[in-house]
């Protein structure tokens, strides 16, 4: 066989092997283990614009204790976090920095839009300096309405997100 035919043959077989590996990992017990480890170690980056951050702080407090779900507040460790919680109004000045924060997070990454202002503009929808549609910056997984939402509502959003992670594909 010539050099080209050998290379094509090897390429096709490497492709088939990697497909086989992905199929093995993406089904059955390995998928369950990978998704279990992802949903039990959600570390949040919280973008506090301080209206809703008061309720985020109340959720991280001793009453609801999300640390039993593996959710620790890692202050400043952006590259180790995989959950971005957009709390409150996103101004135009901050939108650029928010996108930079989102792109610095490694995949898989999830986004929760907390509060009416992050969902669709909210109380300040007619201001000249805010961004009304945050979903155009990056895809959002869970929306939590409220002004501000109760800490229990935010915790139920996290439980929903964990359900979503449990069912999703490994190589999404």
């Amino acid at each position: 066989m010539s050099q080209d035919t050998l290379q094509d043959f090897a390429g096709v077989w490497i492709g088939k092997m990697s497909e086989l590996v992905q199929t093995i990992i993406g089904s059955g017990p390995i998928k369950y283990i990978v998704n279990w480890s992802r949903m039990y170690a959600l570390w949040p980056v919280h973008i506090t614009t301080a209206c809703c951050s008061a309720e985020f702080g109340a959720m991280m407090g001793p009453r609801l204790d999300p640390e039993r779900f593996g959710m620790q507040a890692v202050a400043g460790g952006l590259r180790q976090c995989d959950l971005l919680i957009v709390e409150g109004t996103v101004t135009k000045k901050m939108a650029k920095r928010l996108k930079i924060v989102y792109e610095q997070m490694p995949k898989p990454r999830y986004v929760i839009a907390m509060g009416d202002c992050a969902c669709s503009g909210g109380l300040f929808h007619d201001s000249y300096s805010i961004v009304n549609d945050v979903h155009k910056l990056f895809p959002i997984d869970v929306y939590v309405p409220g002004c501000p939402p109760r800490p229990e509502a935010l915790l139920s959003a996290i439980v929903k997100l964990r359900e979503k992670i449990r069912r999703q594909e490994v190589f999404a």
């Binding site: 973008i47 506090t48 301080a50 991280m60 001793p62 009453r63 202050a75 109380l123 805010i130």
Partner: protein
Amino acid sequence: MTTEPPSPGISISKTAEPSTLDVSVGPQHPGSGHCRILIRVDGDYIVSADPDIGYVHRGCEKIAEYRNYVSNIPHLERPNIADAIHLNWGYVLPIEELQGVVVPPRGKYISTIAAEMNRIMSHLYGLAIMQGVFSGHTTIFMWAFGDRDLFIELAEMLTGARLTYSFLVPGGPRRDLPFGFEDRLSRLLDYFEKRLVEYDRIFFSNPSVIARAKGIGVLKREDAKKLGVVGPVLRASGVKYDVRKVEPYGAYADLEFDIPTFEEGDSYSRYLIRFEEMKQSVRIIRQALEKIPKGPIARKAPLVAPEGEATGRVESSRGEITYLVMGDNSDKPSRVKIMNGSFRNLIALPFLVRNVHVADMPIIYGSLDYWPVEADR
């Protein structure tokens, strides 16, 4: 009569020494809202700091001209959500002055009780995050947030909302005290006074907190007066000025309380002063619960305000808030100007962080209790 050169640190030189490095602290903040402080460091010492704010500027003053007086209350109380009653009250006082509406005594007492509860909640929030988490002390974060939740439950019983009450309209509060409220509040205050002793043991007498905060960021009395700072920052530098005594509003003229002050002006005295103010707030609420008279709680106020302007001020937990409201015979204000505590304290930040270690900057920033959302409005 002379003009004076600007205080050191206030104006930043555009050219830098070759040995310095510009570091951007922010804008994404894990604790407070978003603001950016561009510090110029030379080794481990900060040479100058330039605050770059406006990342949470939502245009409250412009929106206020497009909505009527009562619809303005929800979005004008959002800048400082932990202390919403004071922002609400300061806005309502000049409107009542313009319209000539006098709140009945029972309404004033109810507003005072709600305001002092809010002061305790806001100081606990500051204690947990600005003073606790920024100095690495996470136990006080858990304890203070746990106790704050008990006050929030009582506020929910009174107003129906956890944090954003919209409780005071022109004319008085919207609801009376529900049955059982006074009893629950007295029991909570008994419990809280015991907790304050434990806070003292774990945080304020903690040797590592004292070592980090004592002697850092000293603001002398003359500088505090010249820079025009307000609130606990002013009182920790030795100036005894509190709007509740200077220009009493609500029921404060009938109640007995002290204004704590400290002479040192360093970060540790700024921590301690909020602790002392919480004790005074407990004292005020107890007296108000005993002395509250019976009667109506509010008077009906018209929907329009006549032409004119009025200035009203309250003492919130972060300092004095002054509101200017101008009416023009319609149901929308023609100008609302807000001068709040965080924006007026901002000038102390570049003044205090000169020639300190980089690690002292979060301590100074946290002790000033600067809240970017309130300053940006």
